[in-house]
Amino acid sequence: VTRTVDVLVVGAGPAGLAVGAELGRSGVGRVEILERECDAGGIPRHSDHTGFGLRDLHRLLTGPEYARRRVELATAAGATVRTETSVTSWSGPLAVDVVSPGGLERIEAHAIVLATGARERPRAARLVPGTRPAGVFTTGELQQSVYLHGENVGRRAVIVGAEHVSFSAALTLAHGGARVAAMVTALPRHQTYAGFRIGAAARFRFPLLTGCTVVGIRGRQRVEAVEVQNGASTSRLIPCDTVVFTGDWIPDHELARRGGVSIDPGTNGPAVDPSLHTSVRGLFAAGNLIHPVETADVVALEAHRLARAVTAFLEHGVTDALTVPLRVEPPLAWISPNRAGTSSPTPPLGRFTFRTAAPLTRPHVIVEQDDRRLHESRFRRTLLPNRPCHLDAGWLARIDPAGPPVVVRLV
């Protein structure tokens, strides 16, 4: 069976649902959002604590409330949300093979938006040696276990990582009845907002071990301890029955890569221009697939810009050519969007998002092409790893579309 839709959105998380809603409202025709899980909503579905929706929906919601609201908005705008529907392969540049309980089908679209999100890097991918007992989680698995399946997750946990999601894991553990034995980060400090950190520390009273890495997991049936090392010093054991690997996000880019999309070496997601168009004509990418990761409300706000770009493509059939790559130099880790087109439109929310791999005190960031300085920014605060950093996009018009890659670096 082959069907044709106007816009196919792959993934019904905050990004996919928000862009689906915007496109539905703009009247581009038939908009279909495919979701492989039983329920749409993405990661907020199982982040059962407050803090969602403030910037985009102007109200404070829990994750599941936010997910439901986003589904309602997409549906009300006329988009079709189909759950338990997996895209398994490409059958053409803008056509995919799909499986669902209803069978196999082929869907062609005039434009496709990939919004497949990001996942946390699990223990094996971090090459943490030791035994392979039960009790090793990512935050995603932990939240689903506790909030969606009511599982007992253990009594004493070590959290690996100290970014926002790590503190979210602490909330989930508390809800599930586990005490946090320690939070461990290789960085010299935590990377969440001070309020969140102080609140969590006061409520749950766990030590934050900075400059430390987990170098082993012990236990046969169930986790018994983790081995933690501070620099070159000898390691020590922290007894626990649960260990949660948090953050360290990887874009879920399999579908993008199978479709031959150029991947940005920094984000590991599809390379996109400011209109979020990829290297494949008519194929766009959105959300945490292109910047691992931003909060749900930021991702949803970006959808407005993307919907305009998709609409323009459907009406005029034109996109920018991806001419000039944007590169970062260490210790900067990545920038998104990371290609500049010939017409240099404004990126979502009028800004670029970037990350640093090390804490930077009041850094001086410059953007240059060849020897031409396009822009400079002196930040008055400290920039932290795993935290969103932004760069104004006013300099885009000054790029030479025929020139070499644009470099973003520290002075």
Partner: protein
């Protein structure tokens, strides 16, 4: 447990024990298969390099050489009938320096002594053309076209399923504490009571030496040899076409890079003698060694994510051959020292053990042929359930993907939890379906899979 003694009890439900039970089951015998673990294939059989070997590099004239050569044919044929995932990739034995390059001719000669004449030298240009992602410095190779990748889990499960369907009684979670001779019968004292049998086959793998001692023999010692492995993301699969074998030299055996039937790439193994027969943990030094070796063989592998790290234990005996022997007076056959070639040789070992039993006086009775069970399709070379419109039409759960990374459907999970040899644990479910074996390692589906497991068990 029943008072009537079994005709044969096989101790050890690894790939070899299951093959023996399955082969004996063709005869009108009452057979028990006993294992201390909660599933079949939980020891050495589950964590290995998953290769169906031609036996080209065995020591000529050994029992191992003979059984590997015969087992290769038997398992190749059985796998086709049982739909065990197999891909006939072929192998290249890659030389990285002049010593290794000059060793290739000798290996070719040895292959011929082992009865394998299809090897062929490959020069550096051809090698580069066939494996463009090899690291710099590969000088040439010997091609062994018959080397094949296979699913070790499905192989063991197929044997065990066939055994169950043909009447073998499987006693899992049953640890043998002692074996005594009472009036010409073997009485096995276990945590679930006594089992009695007229004949005993010891296929206990890592523990075969201990069982052998309980029967009063002290002829070999199993020293577990740990092999650590790394599994790379499916997006690395297109980097490699053949099994890339190291050239064995005086400095050690080196590591291999091989595709898997599930569409990943495997790097390993290390080789380290350990004292503990449960030491299946991976180590920082082992992983560092694999990364160093792997970066030389195929640097591009390291642009992809690592999906899994694990370690297996080989049942090394310090001998150059299998240790299979009959003790007719004791109505006992010992199957010891089955090393990494055991998967390939399993059906030939079983055939040989049945001959030894018959020669020692076990009256087998007539054999009846039956088709092997058709196993679930968990390999990438054949159609998976999620790709089959007919199957989804017959049951929509085959269109309901639960594990997205490995594309395992709810229908397959249900089948694995309810079949003739149902999974009782998450590990068992993983080996039957591939669920949670993928790149996210459970970020998306682990909680739901555990919930499905709780519903069924």
């Amino acid at each position: 447990m029943s008072d009537t003694p079994y005709d044969v009890v096989v101790v050890g439900a690894g790939v070899v024990g299951c093959a023996i039970a399955r082969t004996l089951a063709a005869h009108p015998l009452r057979i028990a298969l006993v294992d201390g673990a909660v599933d079949v294939g939980c020891g050495t059989s589950k964590a290995n390099t998953a290769i169906l070997h031609t036996g080209f590099d065995a020591s000529p004239g050994t029992l191992e050489s003979r059984l590997v050569t015969r087992g290769y044919e038997l398992l190749g044929d059985y796998a086709a009938r049982a739909q065990i995932p197999v891909e006939r990739t072929g192998a290249l034995l890659v030389a990285w320096d002049d010593d290794e390059l000059s060793a290739l001719a000798g290996i070719q000669g040895k292959a011929e002594l082992n009865g394998y004449a299809q090897t062929r030298p490959v020069d550096s240009d051809e090698l580069r053309a066939r494996e463009p992602h090899l690291g710099p410095g590969a000088l040439g190779a010997l091609e062994i076209p018959g080397e094949t990748i296979v699913c070790p889990w499905t192989t063991t499960l197929a044997y065990a399923t066939e055994a169950v369907l043909r009447g073998v009684e499987i006693h899992l979670d049953t640890q043998v504490a002692d074996i005594v001779d009472v009036d010409g019968l073997h009485v096995l004292e276990t945590n679930h009571g006594e089992l009695t049998a007229r004949w005993l086959v010891n296929a206990a793998g890592l523990f075969a030496d201990e069982i052998d001692r309980q029967l009063g023999h002290d002829t070999f010692t199993v020293t577990p040899r740990r092999g650590e492995l790394m599994v790379f993301d499916k997006l690395a699969r297109d980097l490699v076409s053949n099994i890339l074998l190291p050239v064995p030299t005086a400095r050690g055996k080196g590591v291999l890079v091989a595709p898997t039937v599930y569409g990943n790439v495997l790097l390993g193994p290390t080789a380290e003698d350990v004292d503990d027969k449960s030491a299946t943990d991976s180590t920082a030094s082992g992983l560092a060694f694999l990364r160093e070796k792997g970066r030389r063989i195929m640097p591009a592998l390291f642009d992809e994510e690592v999906t899994a790290i694990y370690a297996g234990l080989r049942a090394a005996t310090g001998e150059g051959d299998y240790r299979i022997r009959a003790e007719p007076d004791q109505r006992y056959v010992c199957v010891g020292g089955i090393r990494s070639t055991g998967l390939t040789a399993s059906l030939a070992i079983a055939e040989y053990v049945v001959e030894l039993l018959a020669d020692a006086g076990l009256s087998l009775g007539p054999a009846t042929e039956e088709a092997p069970p058709v196993m679930p399709s968990i390999g990438e070379a054949t159609e998976r359930p999620y790709e089959r419109a007919d199957l989804i039409a017959s049951g929509p759960d085959y269109g309901r993907i639960v594990c997205h990374c490995e594309r395992v459907t709810r229908g397959e999970i249900r089948d694995a939890l309810t079949g003739p040899l149902p999974a009782r644990t998450l590990e068992g479910l993983r080996r039957r379906t591939r669920v949670q074996m993928g790149r996210c390692q459970g970020f998306y589906c682990a909680a739901e899979v555990r919930s499905l497991l709780r519903e069924q068990t």
